[in-house]
């Protein structure tokens, strides 16, 4: 099925309703879908569960907390070790107003990969003997303990790629694949903002990182400059 090309980010988010589970690609500044995050903010969709490797660490996802659109985050970086400089999400987290499921970054990536690949769970040594293991099954195998981790899926994924063709194939730039390429496989509705849309056939098969089968909607946007000061 060919991806649908939207003229605006607002139109591209059509159908996302309150309470949606939304994956958000990107890593700090790299290939973060900032235009789609802004559109989600304008849309005012509430009670969201967002899944992103970081929130409030150089991304603009934190701005969804201004109008308290986020009810829960599933993330690997969300709260600093000190409250000296807090994001909005952190302030709301420390006040007990939002829920957080803190997940080791590799476990987050693999849970999403499993969700997209039809895998019902996997065993990992990551998190054994830590708070992450609480409430999870621990299995013994080959003389070691392993945690059983479950897959993650979402209603919607919002992603950023560098280029798309009209079929919906995506190509990322530099360190932009990160969580984008994994999340593309694990949501019912996959929406990508891209800097350029080319005719089908103009992307070399070798440079396609996310095949079109995964992508439902694309929208062309100039990238928003994001820069983290590292604090």
């Amino acid at each position: 099925m060919t991806a649908t090309i939207y003229e605006t980010t607002d139109a591209a988010l059509d159908g996302i309703s309150d309470g949606a589970r939304v994956m958000v690609g990107g890593f700090v500044s790299a290939s973060s879908p900032t235009n789609l995050i802004f559109a989600l903010k304008r849309r005012g969709t509430r009670n969201l569960t967002v899944m992103a490797t970081n929130i409030g660490f150089g991304d603009r996802l934190d701005e969804l907390c201004e109008d308290r659109q986020i009810a829960k985050a599933i993330a690997s970086f969300a709260v600093r070790a000190s409250s000296a400089r807090a994001s909005r999400f952190e302030e709301q987290y420390r006040a007990g107003e939002v829920e957080l499921e803190l997940v080791p970054q590799g476990t987050l990536a693999e849970r999403i990969r499993a969700g997209g690949a039809g895998i019902g769970g996997f065993l990992t040594r990551t998190g054994v003997g830590t708070q992450v293991a609480e409430g999870k099954d621990v299995l013994s195998w080959q003389g070691e303990e392993w945690l059983l981790e479950r897959p993650l899926r979402a209603d919607v994924a919002i992603l950023k790629a560098h280029r798309a063709d009209r079929l919906g194939n995506l190509s990322y730039r530099m360190a932009g694949r990160n969580f984008n390429a994994v999340m593309a496989t694990a949501a019912d509705l996959v929406i990508a903002e891209v800097e350029e849309i080319v005719e089908t056939g103009e992307l070399s098969p070798d440079e396609i990182h996310t095949p079109a089968v995964y992508v439902d909607r694309i929208v062309r946007c100039d990238p928003v400059e994001v820069r983290w000061d590292g604090r």
Binding site: F27, S29, G127, V128
Partner: protein
């Protein structure tokens, strides 16, 4: 002068000592904070391949040229690439880490126990803290070096019989490099391998909670 007031190594000197541990041609992941500084002290002829868990193998130093937001390391800092660098997605990156393909990881630490348990992501009295990629690196890297301060700012030891902060992973640390000492974690506990210049082994022992095996003639770090 009381030992706790003697000068200690700077963060840069700790990083320099850690860099001596990296084998030529090895693949290394550097955590955020003090470990990041290690990159500057790895000699170019050692051909260390630096991995960043956001999906880069073969980055160089920190970029001082035009900022490119798509080229940042796992700490969000702009970086450069060395010839032969490659990009991949986060699932592939952590498969590389968990699959045992990283020779050495260098992580910051808050506490290390005598068995090599590591706590490095949360200070309970402050609340919060984030795990990031630390738990994956701690269990996945073939060798784990922790670079940290030997004591807290108010002088409490960070090398303990038992960690009191939330763990990153159990029995994962191989070597601890602090601003006072190099300590090796072995099956029978901790051994003091080196002391910072000007420090006596006994002074380091008094600032360490866990038992340290101290052989005769512990050398000073060569920096």
């Amino acid at each position: 002068m009381a030992a706790e007031h003697k000068p200690r190594l700077t963060r840069e000197l700790v990083a320099m000592r850690v860099a001596q541990e990296l084998s030529p041609g090895s693949t290394v992941n550097l955590g955020v904070g003090m470990p990041t500084l290690v990159a500057a002290f790895a000699p170019p002829e050692a051909n260390i391949l630096l991995q960043s868990e956001n999906g880069i193998l073969g980055y160089g130093g920190f970029s001082e040229e035009a900022y490119d937001q798509d080229l940042v390391n796992a700490g969000g800092q702009p970086i450069t690439l060395n010839p032969g660098a490659s990009f991949f997605d986060s699932a592939a990156s952590f498969a590389m880490i968990r699959g045992g393909h990283i020779d050495t990881a260098v992580l910051g630490g808050l506490q290390v126990s005598e068995r090599g348990d590591l706590a490095n992501w949360s200070v309970p009295e402050r609340g919060g803290g984030s795990i990031g990629g630390a738990m994956d690196l701690a269990v996945g890297a073939r060798r784990l070096i922790v670079a940290m301060e030997h004591t807290t700012k108010d002088g409490r030891p960070r090398i303990l019989r038992e960690c009191t902060y939330p763990l990153t992973a159990r029995r994962c640390v191989d070597l601890i490099v602090t601003d006072l000492a190099v300590v090796e974690v072995g099956p029978d506990g901790l051994t003091l391998r080196e002391v910072a210049p000007g420090w006596a082994p006994g002074e380091v022992v008094t600032l360490t909670d866990a038992p340290l095996t101290v052989h005769r003639g512990v050398p000073e770090m060569q920096l």
